[in-house]
Symmetry: C2
Subunit: 464 residues, 2 copies
Amino acid sequence: MDPKLGRMMLKEWVAIESDSVQPVPRFRRELFRMMAVAADTLQRLGARVTSVDMGSQQLPDGQSLPIPPVILAELGNDPTKGTVCFYGHLDVQPADQGDGWLTDPYVLTEVDGKLYGRGATDNKGPVLAWINAVSAFRALEQDLPVNIKFIIEGMEEAGSVALEELVEKEKNRFFSGVDYIVISDNLWISQRKPAITYGTRGNSYFTVEVKCRDQDFHSGTFGGILHEPMADLVALLGSLVDSSGHILVPGIYDEVAPLTEEEINTYKAIHLDLEEYRNSSRVEKFLFDTKEEILMHLWRYPSLSIHGIEGAFDEPGAKTVIPGQVIGKFSIRLVPHMNVSVVEKQVTRHLEDVFSTRNSSNKMVVSMTLGLHPWIANINDTQYLAAKRAIRTVFGTEPDMIRDGSTIPIAKMFQEIVHKSVVLIPLGAVDDGEHSQNEKINRWNYIEGTKLFAAFFLEMAQLH
Amino acid sequence: MDPKLGRMMLKEWVAIESDSVQPVPRFRRELFRMMAVAADTLQRLGARVTSVDMGSQQLPDGQSLPIPPVILAELGNDPTKGTVCFYGHLDVQPADQGDGWLTDPYVLTEVDGKLYGRGATDNKGPVLAWINAVSAFRALEQDLPVNIKFIIEGMEEAGSVALEELVEKEKNRFFSGVDYIVISDNLWISQRKPAITYGTRGNSYFTVEVKCRDQDFHSGTFGGILHEPMADLVALLGSLVDSSGHILVPGIYDEVAPLTEEEINTYKAIHLDLEEYRNSSRVEKFLFDTKEEILMHLWRYPSLSIHGIEGAFDEPGAKTVIPGQVIGKFSIRLVPHMNVSVVEKQVTRHLEDVFSTRNSSNKMVVSMTLGLHPWIANINDTQYLAAKRAIRTVFGTEPDMIRDGSTIPIAKMFQEIVHKSVVLIPLGAVDDGEHSQNEKINRWNYIEGTKLFAAFFLEMAQLH
């Protein structure tokens, strides 16, 4: 595999503005183009490719948008070999150069060995690393040590719309011969030391709308006599979490798995230079001072983040407006053994309680717009051992055995529907900045990651 | 004056996107075009017109933008006549059709006798009504009963940048012969009954910035270990005002003028159908149940409105972001005898106190970006009596003697610098919706307002 060719392909894929978060036709067209380019790449690799029509999506405002196809691809079906299925996604988070990107987010730009671009690490780079690994065997005219399947979607950042139904339907067809499922959609917790991930948090995303009327007011003409929606909303959002990060929704910690001595020991075994982590994150001070507390609050305790407000004044300058209708957005990261529906009820009841104390004449509506389960795996499965050996071969070190604070709901979904072992083998460094401005993947990670996947194929062949 | 021509001119003026709030070159160019068109109109009316270069404006981000010229115009200088100076502004608040406008905000559109368009009532319509009144005398080949001066600016919505310096400089030149100053930049408090305004609230506009770093975070990767700026900001904004509209900043009510029996009687004399007002405002319920309380909380008590947040997620959809740096915006409407600098200190100290209780590692910066004084006049001045008579002539009724909850800082400024009587003669109906979506002026108000100004000229000639 020629590294130059690998970078060219990443450049081509990053250039496609496959934003699945902003529900507008322009980005949907880009998503369809992205999936077509990927299908073509896999076909040229010799895979049998099916692009599954996913129908369309009804948005809350009544608009209907087509869902990009999911790619199912198969390469080899030798019954004496194991079959590994790789999951990836090719949609990305929104990116706008005005938000603080130093380079055009849709033009892959190399600076000091870092490849900047939206989707570079989440998740176009890792998908291409897997494809590059397969290409390497092809280029060397070697047989693939394993049968390989791909399931590639274009709606991950929007909650993998309709994917679960497809996996359910393909459970006894596409997935029937699959032994192992590999996902590479998260990051290491270090800049240089690789990791294997055996658990992720879930996520429940809420909107709370407060409405006086569907038109704004002038703050001179109406200020002083209204129950202002922003005052209500700020009070509602302010009731969710305290300044130490503790969630104030009653009952929210009831189902969180109790902490055992054994579990604490796994955190102690992980190398994490807190000072370096804090510096690379460019954060003045974290909420906690020890490595163990930091890891536990990222992995095994829930967290609540307030994302923003829709409908209020959000531009530079000074507009003297009383917004008539505002929508607050926040989400709770869920951990084993929290239940999405229970959390939905707890949050709704809490906000209703807080709102009722205000005697506001406004209307409040709480909605959970996404509900994604947490996931945790058995780290003694064959492919966990194979991945460890491959890491030893390529990087000469033991991996960090980690969990991820982010939500990779398909991990949990695959385990529940397909009942096969799922492993997460991240390629990106801790400072890659997925979901934020100046997302990047290091050139080194992209190349070594390609080697890691190739070594993993060989180890799987031995262990199977 | 032909009503058709009057409407054509309003259409032409509304079509110019003279937004002074959004500090971008495109809108600045439109502002310059707007001022040139107005200068040309006044010249064709026979006025001696000067367009005063106002230099440029330094923005907080370092950017420099040119300020549109102020028009000073004079029509007649007969020493036996009184001289009335009319102030108006031709800049507008931001308007975007996506925000809920039913028609293009920059295309004047008549529906059921209502002329919809940004600036139709605030303040392009009233400026044109004054010009139309002068044109009427010209068309009838009658001498103007008074000498007329115009001062027209293009930065009112952005705080009348640099206007005060100009008025100070012109105090003994342009303003030396001026006897009375008329402003028409507010609204009636009824749909059909005219009003004269003798006081306005001031405004102090604040930003409170909370910063962790200049880049956003992914809520999966960092949620649980950060002092999140949005949590800090929501707590800060939530500490400002309670659910009954009472401002919680310590000391803020200390300088508010005490309420007298006589003042209460002026509110009692005003006709205000609360039910109709509530319906036309499309508000379910106000904070207060009596006419007197409503009027007092709009005119003689301060109010605090939260306008929005810059830097957070403000679009449709679900983005799992922890904003790294957010700016909350709110303002306090000031009343006699509150002092802008005292309020600035009180608000800053209060926010610093609240922030310090949070032990947050983020940085907080409070700034007062606008500080505009409240204003109150003597309602026994000659021109108040002339305006009352003109209203009786044109509308056959006594005006409501009102104050305005909005800020018209130049009223206070003219009184302080020029030391001449200032009156506000609004033309627009209570439901015109200045500063909000679907701003309009009624065709009837625009035409009768033109007549009112003509009758006012005649009354002034008699009383002077």
